[in-house]
Symmetry: C2
Subunit: 206 residues, 2 copies
């Protein structure tokens, strides 16, 4: 594409580095910015620079936090011995929205993915093992994606933690609430039969 301006070309190139953004969408974003006033565009650009330079992580769970301890880890009403392992802040937000979980989190910062060059040492697994070694963790719930990478990461964490006498589980996989059986894929349906839940348990849930 010939943008007739180096400045536009640079801005389009920067936008198209974002996931899922091609040159066409990037140009649409750039044209939008060109119509905004200078102060707004300065604020736009500086928000990301400030984010990258000033962002801090919780010392305990590695979630994003402006304070040394995040709100969840600092909350005395949360069960500090139950740890839910998640990939990133989006999963923390999703689980917090359910209002069903009263433990704390451990944010890995990604999942093991050899295709993307991400190995165990790129994640916060060592810090999890250190915490486990002190005996402060009683239960671990693994809430990673149901992909091959997620399963690999689950298995790696299981191997690293299995000698510390911690109760380990993964979140339940099965038919989503409101879904029709006939549209479920075979693997999910098969697993949901193998991992069937005693009916009395479902009665206790609201």
């Amino acid at each position: 594409m010939n943008f007739s301006s180096k400045l536009i070309e640079e801005a389009v190139n920067e936008f198209s580095k974002l996931p899922g953004v091609g040159k066409r969408t990037a140009l649409r974003f750039v044209l939008h910015l060109m119509k905004q006033n200078t102060a707004d565009v300065n604020q736009f650009g500086n928000a990301f620079i400030k984010l990258r330079n000033d962002l801090r992580y919780c010392e305990k769970c590695h979630n994003v936090s402006d304070k040394p301890l995040c709100d969840v880890c600092a909350n005395p009403h949360r069960d500090q011995s139950t740890v839910c392992i998640v990939e990133d802040i989006r999963d923390v937000m999703a689980i917090e929205n359910t209002q069903q979980y009263r433990g704390i989190y451990h944010v890995l910062g990604g999942i093991i993915s050899p295709m993307d060059g991400i190995g165990p040492s790129d994640l916060t697994i060592e810090s999890l093992v250190t915490k486990a070694a002190t005996g402060e963790i009683k239960e671990v719930i693994m809430a990673l994606s149901t992909t091959m990478e997620g399963d690999t990461t689950n298995f790696y964490i299981y191997k690293r933690l299995k000698d510390y006498g911690i109760s380990m589980s993964t979140i339940a996989r099965g038919i989503a609430i409101g879904d029709e059986l006939e549209y479920a894929d075979e693997i999910t349906l098969g697993r949901s039969i193998i991992n069937r839940t005693p009916y009395e348990n479902t009665l206790q849930m609201k």
Copy 2:
């Protein structure tokens, strides 16, 4: 959404001001930026600030240009008496890609849209009328969107220019090349019959 960090919240808010970007996509962009190194994110943010502060427009056609005259207007091989009226730089790029047009452009910077509060005075129509008054324009081709706003703008420009003895046309509307008749909408098909082209003319095209 509770982002557990003011910095993330601000960055998400800035991204979600872009057209077609919601909070969820904005968070995805922010998580991507958080994983980049500081220099890259600085370059990202500064590209837009620089764009907004340093961007210049061609004095003649109002297209984006780093020089006082854009490449098209400065080209002596282009017919300076034929002017194609377009909405923004995207349309210039699209028409240039066809390699079928040898005249110059006039970039309006938008179209008349009372719903969005855009009137004729927000566009570069006065400058077009001034150019027409000097007699340097012989032909005007209106290449705006086939929407109500585009038609309104076409009609407004027609009224402003009709006394200067300029040959005025709009780009042809009809069935797109490669399209099947049965899937064409009625209005397009109807117009393509009214504006039928002598068969000899199509033979001359390659």
